[in-house]
């Protein structure tokens, strides 16, 4: 039962924060890229020459998972093997995972929807890729802000 000893609470909290920061945006990105991929394949079955355009649009919502990974990595980096984190630092690191986790998830899902619309736009008119990318990247902004906020909170631990 040493695992539950009081000294380890801080470390466990930090690990939960790291897991949260990656798992939640990871789920969001998977859903979004998956749905966009289905649309993209549909477009390609009609016109294989649009591969590059739809591939770029499909890949856009994957960045939230990358940001989540970055935050998780930074939080885990704060844990030193053999040294227990104190409760305060652990709680801060746990909280640091929340902005990235929650905002990243929502941002990925909605960016996925915009990407799908963009893919449909490319299907209808050849040159719509740039516009589609611009529209989709507007949603990305909030994930980037969440990344920075989480990053700043980690700095305080």
């Amino acid at each position: 039962m040493e695992f539950f000893s009081e000294q380890l609470v801080g470390t466990v909290l930090a690990v939960i924060g790291a897991a949260f920061a990656f798992i939640i945006p990871g789920i969001g990105s998977s859903k979004a890229v998956g749905a966009a991929g289905q649309s993209a394949a549909g477009v390609l079955s009609e016109d294989p020459t649009k591969f590059v355009s739809v591939m770029v649009l499909e890949a856009l919502p994957s960045t939230q998972a990358i940001y989540g990974f970055v935050i998780a990595f930074l939080i885990v980096g704060k844990i030193v093997v053999g040294e227990a984190l104190d409760f305060g630092s652990g709680l801060i690191l746990f909280l640091a995972g929340l902005p990235m986790g929650i905002v990243g998830y929502v941002s990925a899902l909605w960016q996925g929807r915009v990407s799908i619309s963009g893919i449909n736009m490319v299907a209808k008119q050849g040159g719509g890729m740039i516009q589609g990318v611009i529209l989709a990247l507007m949603v990305e902004m909030f994930a980037i802000l969440a990344l920075i906020v989480s990053f700043q909170i980690i700095g305080k631990a």
Partner: protein, 656 residues
């Protein structure tokens, strides 16, 4: 560095010279011909019953067919290039004489194109025949060992039947059953392959029915060769000879087509000539013509108008008149900028071309766009790659004008990124450089960089407001500059001064000095704006209400300024992800060759992804800052692009 001024051009010429004159105009490539609406044209109101528009639809249709054929012939010849197709092939330069000389040579090349296409069709025909024979050979091959003629049906008393049995049929057992139940019969197994057994049944006429019934039980199916006579081997031999003959004929045709590839450059010229003719025919429908004269209504850049007028009146019997556009008249927009301004023309064009009487914002926008891009990407290593890539593209690939502009933009953005990389000490996220920045390390001094980002934003927007003033001055509304520019400066500056104590990393000793001045400025600005911003509205109350409403822009200003925090956010994202890529790559240590290889692979893949995500992001968000925060302050847009009549060539460049 501005919108090019245009002159209105009106030309009346003789129908007899129409074709030649249009060709001359296309060669010059500086005159836009307007689509003349007969019903509402101010020139023709009185005379519209005298003029008609030419219908050239049938000519265009014929040209379309000829162009399509020329394209097919060129595609057919493309395989004699020798080497693989380059991505950007340079256009050949030809003189105008050579180009127009194509008019005489056109029938010759048209004939050549039909010849090439005919040879291609004949080749296809030969190929079809060959395929048929090859198929026959493959059906005959299993019977090759059989030295019985295929059309041999049997003797007076015995019957010979050829057929197939499925692979699962048990041959020894069938033979046993035959021996037992059907006397005077013999089954010969000729051959077997992956699909079935090939057999010959010899049987006395009397027992034929029984033998066939027995075999059918095992899945026997008779095979017939129709008209073929002689043995299978003989037939195969003959078929192979035919194939060889067909191959030879095919090669001959191939050589004939290949011989035409010497004329490929001429055929390309022919193709572009046809494209020009098609363009000309399309334009004809835009011209009004009476029985003997025609009218062109169009635009020509002011600097060239005298030149064009002189050339045309010298060479043709025509009347040309050029004049300044009237005040309300919209003219098409052509932008002329220096290299820096021209590089962002594509970005502005995506938003919409400037209105024809507006200041062209490209030169002013370019430094902001490029600077913000660099700040947001912020890693000198990525900038170096971009700059080198752009330089390579400009030197080695032959790009058209538009592609050149984008290559330049990438070059400038790369240089700007390198500059910020130096300032932030960020090169591929390597820790060594991060400890030695020229200015500050964004990861450590986040607050300082945030303050600076917002300050850059304020400068950007103040320049935008100044542009509004420039447009006012261009329209001669000098006094409005006071209300629409200066008053806003006073208001916003006051607002900023009041907010100063809350700005992070500023540590003012006595903020009250600034806030006092700020309050006064805010008040003066607000009063002036309330009194003036509603001046377009009707009635004193309406004026006041829209004046007060305009103060809402203060909230807009605040959110606009905060929007520039993305400069910091995106810049941080690049360096944080970059340093983590390095950390992951070096996780295993660097003490063996394999570990160093792993490091290199992760380093390259990780930085490629980081570069891809963030370069795209920086580009889009830099665009966004221009479109919403900057253009929103002054830009009207809505210009129509200048589309001069010219040869749109694919293979050749026309030398003037």
């Amino acid at each position: 560095m501005a919108v090019v001024e245009m002159h209105k051009l009106t030309l009346v010429g003789l129908n007899a010279e129409k074709g030649r004159l249009l060709e001359r105009l296309m060669a010059m490539g500086v005159v836009q011909v307007n689509d003349l609406d007969l019903a509402s044209s101010d020139v023709l109101t009185k005379w519209s019953h005298l003029v008609t528009k030419e219908d050239s639809a049938s000519v265009v249709e014929e040209l379309d067919i000829e162009i399509e054929q020329a394209k097919q012939a060129l595609d057919r010849l493309a395989r004699y290039n020798g080497d693989k197709k380059p991505m950007f092939f340079p256009k050949r330069t030809v003189s105008e004489d050579e180009f127009s000389g194509m008019a005489q040579e056109r029938p010759q090349y048209r004939h050549m194109v039909t010849e090439i296409l005919r040879l291609g069709r004949e080749q296809q025909e030969l190929q079809n025949q060959k395929n048929k024979i090859l198929k026959l050979i493959s059906t005959l091959e299993p019977w090759q060992q059989l030295d019985v003629r295929l059309d041999f049906k049997g003797t007076r008393y015995a019957k010979v039947t050829l057929g197939v049995l499925p692979l699962i049929a048990n041959m020894p057992r069938i033979n046993e059953e035959m021996a037992e139940h059907v006397p005077a019969s013999h089954l010969v197994q000729v051959s077997s392959d992956r699909y079935q057994h090939y057999v010959m049944l010899i049987c006395h006429n009397q027992y034929l029915a029984e033998a066939e019934a027995l075999l059918r039980k095992h899945g026997f199916a008779p095979v017939s060769f129709g008209e073929l006579t002689g043995t299978a081997a003989g037939n195969i031999l003959r078929a192979n000879q035919e194939v060889a003959a067909l191959d030879k004929a095919y090669q001959e045709k191939e050589a004939q087509i290949a011989a035409y590839s010497a004329n490929k450059t001429k055929l390309e010229l022919y193709y572009d000539y046809l494209g020009g003719q098609r363009e000309k025919s399309l334009i004809l429908t835009n011209l009004a013509a009476s029985e003997s004269v025609f009218l062109i209504d169009g635009w020509v850049p002011k600097v060239l108008s005298d030149d064009v007028e002189r050339k045309l009146t010298q060479e043709f019997t025509c009347i040309v008149e050029t004049r300044e556009p009237t005040d309300g008249e919209e003219f098409p927009v052509l932008l002329e900028n220096n290299s820096l301004g021209a590089s962002v023309e594509g970005i502005t064009a995506m938003y919409g071309l400037p209105n024809c009487r507006e200041f062209d914002p490209n030169v002013v926008m370019a430094p902001f766009f490029i600077g913000f891009f660099g700040l947001m990407l912020g890693d000198g290593g990525y900038g170096l790659i971009m700059a080198l890539g752009a330089l390579f593209a400009m030197k080695r690939l032959s790009l058209d004008d538009n592609q050149k502009k984008y290559a330049k933009l990438i070059l400038y953005c790369g240089i700007s990124t390198m500059f910020w990389g130096l300032m932030f000490g960020s090169w591929f996220g390597l820790a060594y450089f991060a400890e030695r920045p020229l200015w500050l390390n964004p990861v450590k001094d986040t607050n300082t960089l945030l303050t600076w980002s917002l300050l850059f934003g304020v400068v950007h927007m103040f320049v935008g407001i100044a542009m509004r003033g420039v447009n006012h001055i261009r329209r001669g509304k000098y006094i409005d500059v006071l209300w629409d520019v200066v008053a806003w400066y006073v208001l916003f500056t006051g607002f900023i001064l009041i907010l100063l104590p809350w700005v992070p990393a500023l540590n003012l000793a006595d903020p009250s000095v600034y806030t006092d001045v700020g309050k006064k400025m805010l008040l003066i600005g607000a009063v002036v704006l309330i009194l003036t911003q509603g001046r377009a509205s009707k009635g004193i109350i309406g004026k006041l209400l829209s004046g007060i409403g305009s103060l809402y822009d203060l909230i807009g200003f605040l959110s606009d300024v905060l929007s520039y925090s993305r400069l910091l956010a995106l810049g941080l994202a690049t360096s944080v992800i970059g340093s983590i890529v390095n950390e992951i790559a070096a996780l295993g240590g660097l003490n063996s060759i394999i570990k160093i290889l792993v490091f290199c692979v992760i380093f390259i893949i990780g930085h490629s992804i980081n570069f891809g995500i963030n370069a795209l992001g920086s580009f889009v968000h830099s665009i966004r800052l221009q479109y919403i925060e900057f253009f929103g302050k002054f830009y009207q847009g809505g210009g129509k692009p200048f589309q001069p009549l010219k040869y749109k060539t694919r293979y050749v460049n026309l030398k003037d």
